[in-house]
C-alpha cells in the first residue's frame, strides 16, 4: 500500500506536491489549537494526547512530501 502511495506521489508535479503538503500542515495547526483549548480549559487530557498523536502522524506525512519533492 505504501509503495502504491509513493508512486502516486512521485507522479505529481512539484506544485501539486507543495499544495498537498499544506493539508497535513493545516491539520497540525488545528490539532495544536485543540491542545491549547484542552489545556486552557481543563478538559480531559486524553483529547490532548489524541491530538498530539495526530500531529505526529501529520508530521510524518509532511516529511514524505518533502522527501518526494527533494528528488524532483
Amino acid at each position: 500500500m505504501d509503495s502504491e502511495k509513493n508512486s502516486a506521489l512521485e507522479s505529481k508535479n512539484i506544485n501539486e506536491l507543495i499544495h498537498d503538503a499544506r493539508a497535513p500542515l493545516n491539520r497540525i495547526s488545528m490539532q495544536a489549537e485543540l491542545i491549547k483549548l484542552v489545556l486552557e480549559n481543563d478538559m480531559p487530557k486524553e483529547k490532548a494526547l489524541a491530538a498530539a498523536d495526530k500531529i505526529i502522524n501529520s508530521c510524518q506525512e509532511c516529511s514524505q512530501f518533502l522527501e518526494v519533492i527533494s528528488h524532483k
Binding site: N13, M30, L34, L37, N41, K54
Partner: protein, 449 residues
C-alpha cells in the same frame, strides 16, 4: 450562536475544526463534497459557511451559485490551500464572501465568525440574487450566455485566447473568468498573471515578459522572473497587446511557437506551460489594416478569438449591473440607497460608450452625491461622459443639406430606432403610415415585406 456548515474533504481537519467551532459556542454540520453540501443545504438554514475551494466533485464556487439562490443567504468564507489563489479570491470576494488560507489557526475562524456581517444573515435583496457567472461575470442576456458557453468550452483546452471589445467592456474580468473556469475544469489552483503591454516602456518590455539575469543590462541589479515564468502552469493575461511595439513582436512570437523562454542575459531555456490570453480594444479589421500585430503573431494569439459585447448590445443587463454596483457600495458604506424605476430606465436608455466601466463610474458618482438621510440615489440630470458617442452618432444638421436629405435621414434613423416597424415610426414622426410609405417609395427604399 451561529449555525455553521463546514464543507471540506479532509475528515481529520473537519473533525478538529468542529471541536474548535463548537468550543467557540456555535453549532456546526460538516459535508465532505459538493453533493453532500447540496443535500445539507436543502434541509437546513445556515448563518455562515466555511467552504474548501477544491472539493473532490468540483470547485467550491459551484456551491456559491447554489447558495445565492437560497432564501436566506449565509456569509461564506472560502478556505484555500494555496496562497497564490488568495489574490484571485480576494478579487472575486463580494461583500458576503471572505477567504482564509491554510494552515488555519483558531483566530482565523474566530475572525471570520466575528465579522459583523455574519451576525445576521440578511434577507435576500434584489442585488443578492444576481448570479455572478464564474464568480465574476454579471448578465443574463443572450449575448452574455453565448460568452459563458465560449468560456466553458475554451476552459477545457489550452488554446490561446484573444479578447476583443471596446474599452470598458471588462476584458480583464473575462480573462479572470476563463482562468477560474480552467482551474475548475482541471481541478487546479494555478495562477493568473496580468501585464499591460501598453504600460511598459519599449526598453523594458522584453525584461518584463521574459525576465532578466542580474547584470544583464545597466540597472539590472537583481535577477527578475518574467511574466511567462511567473504564470507557471496557469494563465498569462497580456492586456493591450496591440500596443506592443511591432519590433518587439518577433521575440513574443518565438516564445509562443517554441513554448520556450530564455531570460535576457541568460542562456538556459525554460519551458512555457501557461495559456496566453491577450486583449485589445481594436477591431480585427483595424489590427490587420493598420498592422498593429504581425499576421503570424495574431494567429498564435487568437487561436480562439472572443468578442465581448458592448454594454449597449445587452441593455437588459443594465438593471442587474446597476443593482449589483449599488448594492456593493451600500454594503461598503452601510447605506440603503435604492434605484427608482425611472432612474433604471434612464440608465437603460443611455448608450454607455465607456461600457460597464462608465456605468460603474456613474453609479459611484451618484452614490457619493446622494443624501445619506434618505434612500434615493442622486443620479445627475446629465450623466453622459465627455467620451459619449451619443453626440458622435447624432444626426446633426449641416449647412448645405437639402430638406429632402434631412427628411430622408430622419425617417431612416426613426425606422432604425423601432427596428423597422413602419406604423410605430410613422406615429413617432407625426405622419400617417400611408405618407411614410409614399416617402419611402419616393426615395426608392421601400421594399415589400
Amino acid at each position: 450562536m451561529l449555525n455553521i456548515l463546514l464543507v471540506d474533504d479532509d475528515e481529520e481537519f473537519t473533525e478538529v475544526a468542529c471541536h474548535i467551532i463548537e468550543f467557540l459556542g456555535h453549532d456546526v454540520i460538516t459535508a465532505c463534497s459538493l453533493e453532500e453540501a447540496y443535500q445539507v443545504l436543502d434541509c437546513n438554514d445556515f448563518d455562515h459557511i466555511f467552504l474548501d475551494f477544491m472539493l473532490p466533485d468540483g470547485s467550491g464556487l459551484h456551491l456559491i451559485d447554489h447558495i445565492n439562490k437560497l432564501e436566506k443567504i449565509p456569509y461564506i468564507t472560502l478556505i484555500t490551500g494555496h496562497p497564490l489563489v488568495k489574490g484571485m479570491l480576494s478579487s472575486l470576494c463580494g461583500p458576503k464572501i471572505g477567504y482564509i488560507a491554510k494552515p488555519l489557526q483558531r483566530e482565523d475562524l474566530e475572525q471570520a465568525l466575528s465579522n459583523k456581517k455574519t451576525n445576521t444573515a440578511r434577507n435576500k435583496s434584489k442585488s443578492s440574487i444576481t448570479t455572478k457567472h464564474f464568480g465574476c461575470l454579471i448578465g443574463e442576456s443572450t449575448v452574455m450566455k453565448e460568452l459563458y458557453t465560449m468560456i466553458e468550452r475554451v476552459a477545457t483546452t489550452q488554446a490561446n485566447v484573444m479578447l476583443m471589445g471596446e474599452s470598458g467592456v471588462g476584458k480583464e474580468v473575462v480573462a479572470q473568468a476563463i482562468h477560474i473556469a480552467t482551474n475548475q475544469a482541471n481541478n487546479s489552483e494555478n495562477k493568473l498573471v496580468t501585464t499591460n503591454c501598453g504600460a511598459i516602456s519599449k526598453d523594458l518590455i522584453t525584461s518584463e515578459l521574459f525576465g532578466h539575469e542580474k547584470g544583464a543590462f545597466t540597472g539590472a541589479i537583481a535577477k527578475k522572473e518574467g511574466v511567462f515564468q511567473r504564470a507557471g502552469d496557469g494563465t498569462l493575461f497580456l492586456d493591450e497587446v496591440t500596443e506592443m511595439p511591432i519590433e518587439m513582436q518577433p521575440n513574443l512570437l518565438r516564445v509562443l511557437e517554441s513554448k520556450k523562454v530564455t531570460t535576457v542575459g541568460g542562456t538556459k531555456e525554460m519551458d512555457v506551460n501557461c495559456r496566453v490570453i491577450s486583449a485589445s480594444n481594436r477591431s480585427v479589421a483595424e489590427i490587420a489594416e493598420k498592422k498593429y500585430l504581425r499576421e503570424d503573431i495574431y494567429f498564435r494569439l487568437a487561436v480562439f478569438p472572443i468578442s465581448i459585447p458592448a454594454l449597449r448590445e445587452r441593455k437588459e443587463d443594465i438593471p442587474l449591473l446597476a443593482n449589483t454596483f449599488l448594492s456593493e457600495l451600500n454594503e461598503e458604506y452601510n447605506r440603503n440607497y435604492q434605484w427608482t424605476a425611472v432612474q433604471l430606465k434612464r440608465l437603460v436608455d443611455y448608450d454607455w460608450p465607456g461600457n460597464v466601466r462608465e456605468l460603474r463610474h456613474t453609479i459611484h458618482r451618484a452614490f457619493i452625491m446622494s443624501d445619506p438621510k434618505n434612500t434615493a440615489v442622486e443620479l445627475a440630470q446629465d450623466f453622459r461622459s465627455p467620451f459619449s458617442s451619443v453626440t458622435e452618432k447624432s444626426h446633426g444638421l449641416t449647412a448645405g443639406q437639402t430638406i429632402e436629405d434631412v427628411e430622408k435621414e430622419l425617417i431612416k434613423v426613426t425606422l432604425e430606432d423601432v427596428d423597422g416597424n413602419k406604423s410605430l415610426a410613422a406615429e413617432m414622426l407625426g405622419i400617417s403610415t400611408k405618407t411614410l410609405y409614399n416617402r419611402l417609395h419616393a426615395y426608392g427604399e421601400f421594399k415589400e415585406d
